[in-house]
């Protein structure tokens, strides 16, 4: 018997505080589907070789993860494309202004929230994958309050995260993560009780743990005899093997469209 845990360790609440949208330019190409389509062709021809077709990196850096911590403005991206990075492998280009802005518009969309861009898979089919016992995603994750409380809330995941990062989180959940707030812990208390769950926060003096039932435990370290912390994500790392390519694409499409604001607009 397998008990599945499907924890997408995306540290969702952090994203909104890291200025994903701070660098938005007023250039008309940004957000223009035609410009993005032209930019995509340019990207696939000249950039995807090093930065990967979905921006997840390769020979060149990952474009998608980086902006979470060090956001670049559209103007800075424009300047990097135009001038390259002297001393690194990134070459200068001789694209026209319009071409460069089209490319910036595509990259802006690529690193922006997944919900803003069309996803390849079938979202309705992906919804079934998400809620199925086979994947068990909802054992740990909630959407609009339905589902588990151990893993990050996915209600707004498409509104927060780029598609490439959602894919990475499903396929390689332990990669490059920010763990504080998502550590699986077992806390042995002086009264003999053991509390297991995810430490939403901890320091040497107190612990704030949410358990599988969604109950919060506020614990003083004075009451703790032993704290066991799991390295890596409690989310299974084998979804790439367990799900077919189509199932994965559909799941990504479903997650990509989970956006609070977008849902609101559609329901009006």
């Amino acid at each position: 018997m397998r008990i599945l845990a499907c924890v997408l360790l995306l540290a969702a609440p952090l994203a909104a505080q890291h200025g994903l949208y701070e660098g938005e330019s007023k250039n008309p190409a940004i957000g223009d589907p035609k410009a993005i389509a032209v930019g995509e062709k340019l990207y696939m021809r000249s950039c995807a070789g090093c930065h990967g077709p979905d921006g997840s990196g390769g020979r060149g850096p990952n474009l998608v993860r980086r902006p979470m911590w060090h956001p670049l403005t559209d103007e800075k991206i424009f300047s990097l494309i135009r001038n390259g990075l002297p001393g690194a492998d990134m070459p200068a280009t001789n694209l026209t202004d319009d071409e460069t802005w089209n490319l910036v518009a595509f990259i802006h969309a690529l690193i922006g929230p997944a919900a803003d861009n069309p996803a390849a898979g079938d979202g309705a089919a992906g919804e079934k994958v998400f809620w199925s016992e086979k994947t068990g995603c909802a054992n740990c994750h909630a959407i609009h309050g339905k589902g588990g409380r151990l893993g990050p809330d996915l209600t707004n995941i498409g509104g927060l995260r780029p598609l490439a990062l959602i894919k990475e989180s499903v396929l390689k959940p332990s990669e490059g993560l920010y763990f504080l707030g998502n550590e699986a812990v077992a806390v042995k208390l002086k009264n003999g009780e053991t509390i297991r769950g995810v430490a939403r926060n901890r320091d040497n003096y107190s612990l704030q743990v949410i358990d599988r039932q969604g109950k919060l435990h506020l614990i003083s370290m004075r009451d703790v005899t032993e704290l066991e912390i799991r390295e890596g994500s409690p989310m299974p790392g084998d979804y790439g093997k367990r799900l077919s390519e189509a199932e994965l694409e559909n799941l990504f499409a479903f997650l990509a469209r989970q956006s609070l604001r977008k849902g609101e607009e559609e329901s009006k």
Binding site: A16, R196, S206, E226
Partner: protein, 536 residues
């Protein structure tokens, strides 16, 4: 194998039904918890806790400080339940361990189209609620921060924004509307606590042709009357008491002849239907931006030999009112501040006795109170043992100017402008039975006046000094007991709660939440054994 053992153990924990905040819990509050903006539905901002006393208040020390991310001028009044404190910032909520100040979860709506102040959360069931600046009521699971719903109830395109703490009552969450200085139509709405669906909406300004519309000119559709502060609730009569803001354009009154109903008023609304039971307009045809946003405090007290259900209201216009809260009947108004030069008093009909020639002019008029008013929204305290109402007041006058420009809705053009000068903040204890002052405590500072009050059963009153000091006074006498310099101006109201068996007083400064408690020497802590285990 390891994962299996781990998770089997996790599942074997007994299923715990999460404790729920029930309507009757809020009706009885506050106790150990602080469950609504004013602590109780009657708006008293008073705690029954007794650990902190006038004798030991000198031993109060900060227990923790939480720096709220991206905050500039917090106005949040925290809610506390079951050891967790909930505080809001613009478009964001934070859940903190109320004993340690450690962050448990946070939620930030990065896509909100507006940013503005937020005055706090509400709690009911297993959810906490707050409003975004662009008018979404957001419900979050109180323990995990998981989003249950985020539902839009008004549009910024109509000039409406949101700032107030929602009021959770029974199966409803009551929200209001801000934006009255730029032209909009104010409203109060009840949304389903379960789904966020709108159940009723009561506009504070009548539509053209409706009763009351005859008190307006052509700009009635943009008349303001914003309901930008939460209200109080009387369970026995199932009535909400809600205040309304200024008529628009604020200073150009020539374009809105008449009383401008129901601006600058107190409204009594039926909780189930939103139907207006009565209204009382404090400042008919306001020309000085004296919104009625100050707390309506509900009280049963002796009045001329018999018990009456009253509502107390310290108004921006410089007067302190007592009304019958069942009928809305005007009972008495006395002067709240000494600096009042626009009216010589309030007549028996409840209307101000106007002193001529105090409306704004192109050259400017020197009027008292200033545009900030004699008091404001922060929240007052009624202490049942002293029988006194504590109000932070401002003795200040200012210039009121008219503009020659034509009023334009949503251009943030109030038809003129106002500046204030100097000023003295004074915390006053008022006897509601007589309207007379029992004592007063002058504050230092720049005449900013934005901190509310809270008291505890033993007779300690807390308020914020105008210089960033949290101050404890003897509620009976107004004598100083204790003060603490928070290092920056506070623009919020304090709350009292118990966590870990200890009484705390908490308040938001401009950028942080401070929690105070009585000093206890700390015992050294032996760190537990920490081990790590690899994921298979």
């Amino acid at each position: 194998m390891m994962r299996r053992r781990w998770l089997v153990l996790a599942l074997s924990l007994s299923s715990v039904a999460a404790a729920q905040v029930r309507p009757q819990d809020i009706l009885k509050s506050p106790g150990k918890d602080w469950l609504t903006y004013a602590g109780s539905y009657n708006g008293w901002r008073h705690s029954p806790l007794k650990q902190i006393t006038p004798e030991n208040a000198g031993s109060l020390v900060p227990k923790w400080v939480y720096r709220v991310p991206n905050s500039v001028r917090l106005q949040t009044s925290p809610v506390v339940y079951d050891g967790v404190m909930y505080v809001t910032n613009t478009n964001a909520m934070y859940a903190l361990d109320a004993s340690t100040g450690r962050l448990i979860w946070s939620y930030a709506d990065g896509r909100a189209e507006q940013s503005g102040p937020n005055r706090g959360p509400a709690i009911m069931g297993d959810r906490v609620y707050f409003v975004t600046s662009d008018n979404y009521l957001t419900a979050l699971d109180r323990q995990s921060g998981v989003v249950i719903f985020s539902k839009k109830y008004a549009s910024v395109e109509d000039g409406v924004t949101s700032t107030s703490a929602p009021l959770a009552v029974k199966d409803k969450v009551i929200v209001g509307s801000a934006g009255g200085d730029s032209g909009m139509r104010g409203f109060i709405a009840a949304l389903s606590a379960d789904t966020g669906e709108e159940l009723w909406r009561t506009y504070t300004i009548p539509a053209k042709g409706e009763p009351g519309s005859e008190t307006w000119g052509d700009l009635i559709e943009w008349g303001g009357g914003a309901a930008w502060l939460s209200g109080t609730y009387d369970a026995e009569s199932n009535t909400l008491y809600w205040t309304t803001g200024n008529p628009w354009p604020d200073f150009n009154a020539a374009v809105r002849p008449g009383d401008n109903l129901y601006s600058c008023s107190l409204l009594a609304l039926d909780l189930d239907t939103g139907k207006m039971k009565w209204y009382f307009q404090f400042t008919p045809h306001d020309t000085h931006d004296w919104d009625a946003q100050s707390w309506p405090v509900l009280l049963d007290m002796e009045w001329e030999g018999r018990q009456r259900k009253v509502v107390l209201h310290a108004n921006r216009n410089g007067f302190f009112y007592v009304l019958d809260r069942v009928t809305g009947e005007f009972l008495r108004a006395t002067q709240l501040t000494d600096s009042v030069n626009w009216a010589s008093g309030i007549g028996k009909d409840g209307r101000p006795i106007l002193i001529p020639d105090t409306d704004p002019t192109l050259e400017g008029k020197w009027v008292c109170p200033s545009v900030k008013g004699a008091t404001n929204w922060m929240g007052q305290t009624y202490h049942p043992q002293t029988g006194l109402l504590y109000v932070l007041t401002l003795e200040q006058c200012g210039w009121f100017n008219l503009s020659e420009q034509d009023p334009e809705p949503m251009k943030n053009f109030p038809g003129g402008g106002a500046t204030e000068e100097g000023g003295q903040v004074i915390l006053r204890a008022i006897d509601p039975k007589t309207g007379k002052r029992a004592w007063e405590y002058p504050m230092t500072g720049f005449g900013r006046m934005w901190t509310g009050t809270v008291s505890t059963a033993t007779g300690v009153l807390f308020s914020g000094d105008d210089d960033g000091q949290l101050v404890a006074l003897d509620a009976k006498t107004g004598s100083h007991l204790w003060n603490f310099n928070m290092g920056e101006l506070s623009t919020a109201s304090p709350v009292i709660y118990e966590a870990g068996g200890k009484q705390h007083v908490a308040i938001a400064s401009a950028t942080a939440v401070f929690a105070f408690g009585l000093f206890e020497p700390m015992e050294p802590l032996e760190l537990p054994k920490v081990t790590t285990r690899k994921t298979e």
